[in-house]
Symmetry: D2
Subunit: 138 residues, 4 copies
Amino acid sequence: MTGHLPSFELDIRITYADTDQMGVVYYSNYLVFFEQGRTELMRHLGVRYKDLEETEKVGLPVTEANCRYRAPARYDDLICVRTKIKRIGGVHMEFEYEVVNKETGQTLVEGFTRHVFVNEKWKPTPVPKSLLAKLHTD
Amino acid sequence: MTGHLPSFELDIRITYADTDQMGVVYYSNYLVFFEQGRTELMRHLGVRYKDLEETEKVGLPVTEANCRYRAPARYDDLICVRTKIKRIGGVHMEFEYEVVNKETGQTLVEGFTRHVFVNEKWKPTPVPKSLLAKLHTD
Amino acid sequence: MTGHLPSFELDIRITYADTDQMGVVYYSNYLVFFEQGRTELMRHLGVRYKDLEETEKVGLPVTEANCRYRAPARYDDLICVRTKIKRIGGVHMEFEYEVVNKETGQTLVEGFTRHVFVNEKWKPTPVPKSLLAKLHTD
Amino acid sequence: MTGHLPSFELDIRITYADTDQMGVVYYSNYLVFFEQGRTELMRHLGVRYKDLEETEKVGLPVTEANCRYRAPARYDDLICVRTKIKRIGGVHMEFEYEVVNKETGQTLVEGFTRHVFVNEKWKPTPVPKSLLAKLHTD
């Protein structure tokens, strides 16, 4: 599937814990924001990631992550993480992210994560039908 | 047991990731250093914490943690975490920590953590004999 | 001041990043939740912590932190951090926290943090009047 | 410069804090390991990153980061971060990383980070001569 795929916007307030001594958000923390973005996108679609794990016995580990840093976020900034499903099918899923400063609209970070669906033995397994169904009714 | 109990010194280099925009180590990170301290103290005694979990089926969750912050650690500082077993017996274990600046000797943080031994159902369970044996031969 | 002091409730969704291999929130992360709690309590009072730093040139480093862990929070739980100002006066400020599971109401963690107001040279300095004013109009 | 460029191997012990509830290292933590890798590579060359900032007034923010996850690292694993300078010149620097399980030799993660040298106003600035000198004597 690569047609019109769902997206979601999640606001996050930058904490002291997120910053480093350069006064900006430490670079690994955007991957945590990406996780929050894709989880809330899926919840918005009616799929709780936790249920995929507990009910469907399916996990979605990351196989690749990429971040391009355009401008820094700073302490107490309100940022918006725009998450899109870029591609889903077979045993794979890919998300795209754009992080913007909520006040100025400036793009701060762009990135993507690629994932593989796995069963309880960490073997690749097809996209759960429950998830595909949610995408089709969209 | 409250007699002469073992201690261990672990050196840790402060990373950028550890700092915040005040230019000092963010306060929650000392609890991570404490974890590293007690794990290496136990390894030094001949007990791998991982084996307690996997072989003895015993966990050691934290019931209380305390930190008193005396002076800040900064980026690239080499610190030393001095970990002591303060008390062990029944279903409980307590560690004490002193974090010092390795170069100046200054005390940066003092703290403790209290733990309870639990079985696979998270029910309190006695100190594993394998661990007590290591303490006695000390 | 120790009379009726303000409090605030902040909801936080537990992420994968917060958990550890025991399947529960790693113990140091509650100190991050405490930071979020006190920041939002102050914002609710009309004081942006960032402005204290940038406008008033005052910082509020932690001198002591304490957590008692009653029950674990798990992935995707919605928790509520109840933050209270326990004491403010002289050069000091103290917050109390109770973290509860939003769905069950169960208390998960209780704790406190003690802070000292410092000027740009990290010397103790009185509570900013702008902050005291907000408390009095409450 | 793209000839034979220096590399460095840094051993890191996986902590509980690094893991998530899947029982493996949470994906953003490899970016922290990368930071530790490049810092120690530079120290090995005789350049303290801290001195670049404090003495040369030069920073090295990340413009892009990439991780490909091949296999998971688990609690208490000893991993080795192999860091190479891939490219340095103009205002840019690029590092390559391979994370391997120290015991089995298995490749766990491969990645890179791209950086730009900036002055105190965060404007791009040439590679510091002190750093180039260390590379040439190599």
